[in-house]
């Protein structure tokens, strides 16, 4: 690792539990007072734009199609997933291929808090205080060989624990991929926690990828396999809709999804009268990652 990434969002930006708990208590009171509840979104609009979303927002509004396609389905169904014991198979072009036990990985890794913006391809966004470790550290544990150019990831597939996979919404298991330099970038982490607690199942327990400058679907959940390859690996959404989802899927307000604009996004948590905000190139991480794509046509390589 050339350099470690420095967080521009401090722990002070994370909502302390007393703040969101009291806000919820206020909400209940407001709801009781009838239309006074309308006041909440107006108050929220004046909040700091980079304040992380609260626990409820992050854990109740999820895309994890293995548990159902509605936003509330993962929170409802993901408790069925067994996350312990858990191991990650790391193979392909590595010096030490094998099944790495989750507990062994955790004992080797340095866990840090990373407060990242998350921009979904569906044009909504959140700010999430993740806990996790740099993917580069995990890959170093396995020893990346010289010929490796890409990293392929795979989500667990357990039909008896995942009601959503009964229907072929996607070609299961969910697979994703990164170029090796993207995977080794210090911004790229494997998240294992949220707000200092173990990551809930609906958010991708026990460990998931987080690549904050790409659309959320690139940040594959509940990873069971990581394969180093010399060829570009297939990715689930690209297989489902090659015209709509490219391999790179970098957040880019100038390249629209064929079915909707990517120029703006709505921050979750603003309530019924929240406006849209402009989407930032590379989700605001351009200073750190734009150099990875020097000379590339990002409209062509979307």
């Amino acid at each position: 690792m050339a350099h470690r990434w420095k967080n521009d969002l401090s722990p002070a930006d994370a909502t302390p539990p007393w703040a969101y708990l009291s806000r919820r208590a206020l909400m209940l009171g407001a709801a009781g007072a009838g239309l006074a509840g309308l006041a909440r979104p107006l108050a929220a609009a004046t909040d700091d734009a980079l304040k992380p979303n609260d626990w409820d927002e992050i854990t109740s509004y999820n895309n994890y199609y293995e548990f159902g396609t509605n936003k509330g389905d993962p929170a409802k169904n993901a408790h069925m997933l067994t996350t312990s014991p858990w191991s990650v198979r790391i193979d392909g072009l590595v010096d030490r291929p094998g099944n790495y036990d989750f507990a062994d990985i955790m004992s080797e890794m340095t866990i840090e808090e990373r407060i990242y913006r998350l921009r979904c391809v569906e044009a909504w966004s959140m700010v999430v205080p993740w806990n996790g470790f740099e993917l580069a550290d995990l890959l170093a544990m396995a020893g990346v060989q010289d010929g490796a150019r890409y990293v392929a990831f795979e989500t667990v597939l357990r039909p008896q624990e995942m009601p959503g996979v009964r229907f072929p919404v996607l070609d299961w298991p969910y697979v994703e991929g990164l170029r090796l330099d993207e995977a080794l970038h210090p911004l790229t982490i494997m998240a294992t926690g949220l707000y200092g607690k173990p990551i809930p199942n609906q958010n991708g327990a026990p460990l998931r990828l987080v690549v904050p400058w790409k659309y959320g679907f690139k940040s594959i959940k509940s990873v069971v396999r990581i394969t180093l390859t010399d060829t570009q690996p297939p990715t689930s959404w690209n297989k489902a809709g090659p015209r709509e989802y490219g391999f790179y899927s970098n957040v880019n307000p100038n390249v629209d999804h064929p079915r909707w604009s990517q120029a703006t996004e709505r921050r979750i948590g603003g309530g019924l009268f929240a406006g849209r905000e402009p989407t930032q190139m590379f989700n605001g991480y351009g200073d750190q990652v734009a150099a990875l794509y020097d000379g590339m046509d990002l409209a062509e390589n979307f």
Binding site: R40, E57, Y61, W124, W260, T264, I268
Partner: protein, 205 residues
């Protein structure tokens, strides 16, 4: 059984349907404004209103086949159901315009550039003449042309279902079920009419 059901249904005033049908958008709006529709109330409200409209359109389309194949006569509710469908879809459109997109330039760009929005808008536009002519005077003035005009309902239903199929990501079952139900209800209208009465003619002395 059907006769007693028909008698029962005849006692329900149409006005009750108008009143009950008018309430859900207000209830949903209140729920959305007070955090009872989850953490993304705009999307929830928009989708709920769209789905309600599509469901009501299916009920409206079921009235003719129900009368023909089951003998259940709900014809007197059809106008109310049609108008309520238009009301829900108009609310759905208003939420999209004023709460979801909000930006005037992006609204127009979306309508012309995004096929699923173009199709949804077309379905709503098809319903305008139907809503405007849903009164006794129009039926009288237009005569047989009123029936022809109101076949636009079929087009609006198909476009509405396609709009729903297109906006989902991946291969999803739910919108395809809506589309299939609509196609079946329209297909039933193509079956030859009154096979029993033509058979009966042969037995007449």
């Amino acid at each position: 059984m059907i006769d007693s059901l028909n008698r029962l249904v005849r006692r329900v005033p149409v006005s009750a349907l108008y009143i009950a049908g008018a309430l859900p958008p207000f209830v949903l709006f209140y729920m959305a404004a007070t955090g009872r529709l989850g953490v993304e109330p705009i999307e929830a409200l928009e989708h709920e209103l769209g789905a309600l409209g599509l469901k009501l359109l299916i009920v409206t389309l079921a009235i003719t086949p129900l009368r023909r194949f089951v003998g259940l006569n709900l014809l007197r509710f059809r106008r109310a159901l049609g108008l309520l469908t238009f009301y829900y879809i108009s609310c759905h459109l208003l939420v999209w315009l004023f709460l979801d997109v909000q930006i005037a330039g992006q609204i127009w760009a979306d309508i012309i550039k995004r096929p699923y929005i173009t199709i949804g808008m077309a379905a709503w536009v098809l319903m305008i003449p139907l809503a405007v002519t849903s009164n006794n005077r129009s039926v009288r003035v237009l005569g047989p042309r009123w029936r022809q005009l109101h076949r636009l309902t079929y087009g609006a239903a198909i476009l509405g279902a396609i709009h729903f199929v297109m906006l989902r990501k991946g291969f999803q079952l739910e919108p395809l079920i809506y589309l299939a139900v609509i196609l079946v209800l329209l297909g039933l209208r193509l079956t030859p009419k009154r096979p029993r009465s033509t058979a009966g003619i042969g037995f007449r002395p």
